[in-house]
């Protein structure tokens, strides 16, 4: 079986200095792949390129053998890619319900929100609250919930644990694991919180200065003391 997402020798640069060099990776359906690395390693750049927000200089991106290079950002959702950006991207002036509906607007039929509210009971109680009235954890759940309304095949998640209490982070990681097991969702998870990420991921790759330093099973990465010291800092 070929992978769902295949990235081959991707090079991305802002101007003269490339931020990503020859990055290759694959994500299978039903697999969670963690992208780890220090600040400035190029993790967010990788996600932004995959969702079409940044142009790549060279390399190949395919989803189910469909070439994604040159696809406009606003068309990506039709290809099955949902991107929850850094800082979550909840539209703070809209209500919880409106934010969720927004996730399904690209389809002709009315979005089904009941399943999402079942998944996040906390949101169900706050349907008519505005985005800026929510706590950080609720915003993260709303952002993930909104991405799920689009029924993606691949979820790109940028730093979901940022600014959240460990308990909430654990809830979110458990949710990802559950979604993977139940629906076969593929997740590319960018995290600073290495422990959390590796606790839920199947595979991990470490970026350093825009290059893939290593790719391995999550368990192997978690157990590799040298790697942890050098690149991941714990």
């Amino acid at each position: 079986m070929s992978a769902l997402l295949e990235v081959h020798e991707l090079t991305v640069g802002y101007g003269a200095a490339p931020v990503l060099h020859d990055v290759s990776l694959t994500v299978d359906a039903g697999q969670i792949v963690a992208v780890l690395g220090a600040n400035g390693a190029g993790k967010t750049t990788l996600l932004r390129t995959l969702s079409g927000q940044l142009k790549s200089e060279a390399g190949r991106i395919t989803l189910d053998d469909q070439d994604l290079r040159g696809v406009k950002v606003e068309r990506m959702v039709r290809h099955g890619i949902a991107h929850v950006p850094e800082g979550r991207g909840v539209v703070t002036e809209l209500t919880v319900d409106e934010n969720l509906r927004l996730g399904g607007l690209w389809r002709k039929q009315k979005p089904k929100l009941d399943g999402i509210y079942d998944l996040f009971p906390a949101l169900a109680q706050r349907r008519s609250h505005l985005g800026h009235q929510l706590s950080g954890g609720e915003r993260q759940m709303l952002a993930i919930g909104r991405a799920l309304v689009a029924e993606p095949r691949l979820l790109l998640l940028d730093e979901p644990s940022l600014g959240l209490a460990p308990k909430i982070t654990a809830q979110i990681m458990a949710l990802l694991r559950d979604l993977r097991d139940r629906t076969g969702l593929a997740v590319l998870l960018v995290e600073q919180n290495v422990r959390s990420a590796l606790s839920v991921a199947d595979q991990g790759l470490v970026l350093s200065l825009g290059r893939v330093v290593t790719r391995n099973d999550a368990a192997a990465l978690a157990g590799d003391a040298d790697l942890r010291h050098v690149y991941l800092g714990f």
């Binding site: 606003e74 607007l105 689009a150």
Partner: protein, 292 residues
């Protein structure tokens, strides 16, 4: 007392037109963060188009429809061809370009139609009905209220009840996130301009029969009054635009009724200065600053 009642109804009728025009300014401000100083000139241009059709066909309503549709088209064109390419790093850029558009539009209209006032008849009688001996409302006033009321209701339904309205709001508040969710942000911006310009054209068509007639500069005072109304209500607030429009309309009629018509424009400018000094964000603005 009779005079006061008469002036109040007259003021509300004028205010309804200001409200519609202010709403057009608010729509564009919310979508693009530009105060469209060309709104008046654009409305005049479409009113000329409308009355040309009316004169050629004899049908006011055909001309009316042409003016509104012309507003949709002109608004979309201005956004696609001009405003899209304005560097938005400084808010002044959009203003200067809009003022340039005013000069171009007014110049072209002067070349085509001449710079004298042209008659612009109203579709309904402007003679007021008598209520207990006081002339309060004309058929035309009722038409103005109905038209503006319909626009307010339709826009409210559009923005709060339809997927397109949700897309438009999201695209304005958070363009980057909206793109990730599949919203065609640039299309929503064009639609916002088109709708706003159509509402401006409606206000223009409503005001022309009550003034001296059609002239390339016919909407200058309307623009100033409506701009004051929009600032009074808060540029971000559609409700504020409507309330602001009615307040400015009442103020203008009271001042011209009791103090003389020549004082009225000055009163509007004084109100504008007072609002800008005292409450620059308007009466209906939310306290929270825009962050996204």
């Amino acid at each position: 007392m009779d005079r006061f009642l008469y002036l109040t109804f007259d003021g509300l009728s004028r205010g309804a037109v200001y409200a519609a025009f202010a709403l057009a300014l608010v729509l564009i401000w919310r979508a693009a963060r530009i105060v469209n100083f060309a709104q008046g000139a654009m409305a005049v241009a479409t009113a000329y188009a409308g009355y040309s059709v009316t004169n050629a066909t004899g049908s006011y309503w055909l001309g009316f429809i042409v003016a509104i549709v012309g507003g949709l088209v002109l608004g979309a064109l201005v956004e696609r061809v001009v405003m899209r390419f304005v560097d938005h790093s400084s808010p002044l850029n959009g203003v200067v370009v809009a003022l340039g558009l005013v000069l171009i539009i007014q110049g072209v209209l002067g070349m085509i139609y001449g710079n004298e006032f042209r008659p612009a008849p109203a579709p309904f009688s402007r003679d007021a009905f008598q209520f207990g001996g006081v002339a309060l409302l004309s058929r035309y006033d009722l038409f103005v209220f109905a038209a503006v009321g319909a626009v307010v209701v339709l826009l409210t339904l559009l923005f709060t009840r339809t997927p397109t309205g949700l897309r438009m709001r999201a695209a304005a508040f958070a363009p980057d996130v909206s793109r990730l969710l599949g919203v065609p942000v640039s299309g929503m911006l064009t639609l916002g301009w088109a709708l706003a310009a159509a509402v401006g054209s409606l206000a223009g068509m409503l005001v022309v029969p009550t003034e001296l007639g059609l002239h390339p500069n016919a909407m200058d005072l309307l623009f100033i009054s409506a701009f004051t109304a929009a600032v009074l209500g808060g540029l971000d607030s559609p409700v504020g635009a409507v309330v602001g429009g009615l307040v400015v309309g009442l103020l203008l009629t009271y001042v011209s009724g009791y103090l003389g018509a020549t004082v009225a424009p000055m009163a509007v400018l004084i109100l504008l200065v007072v609002v800008l000094l005292g409450r620059p964000d308007g009466l209906f603005s939310r306290a929270k600053a825009r962050t996204a």
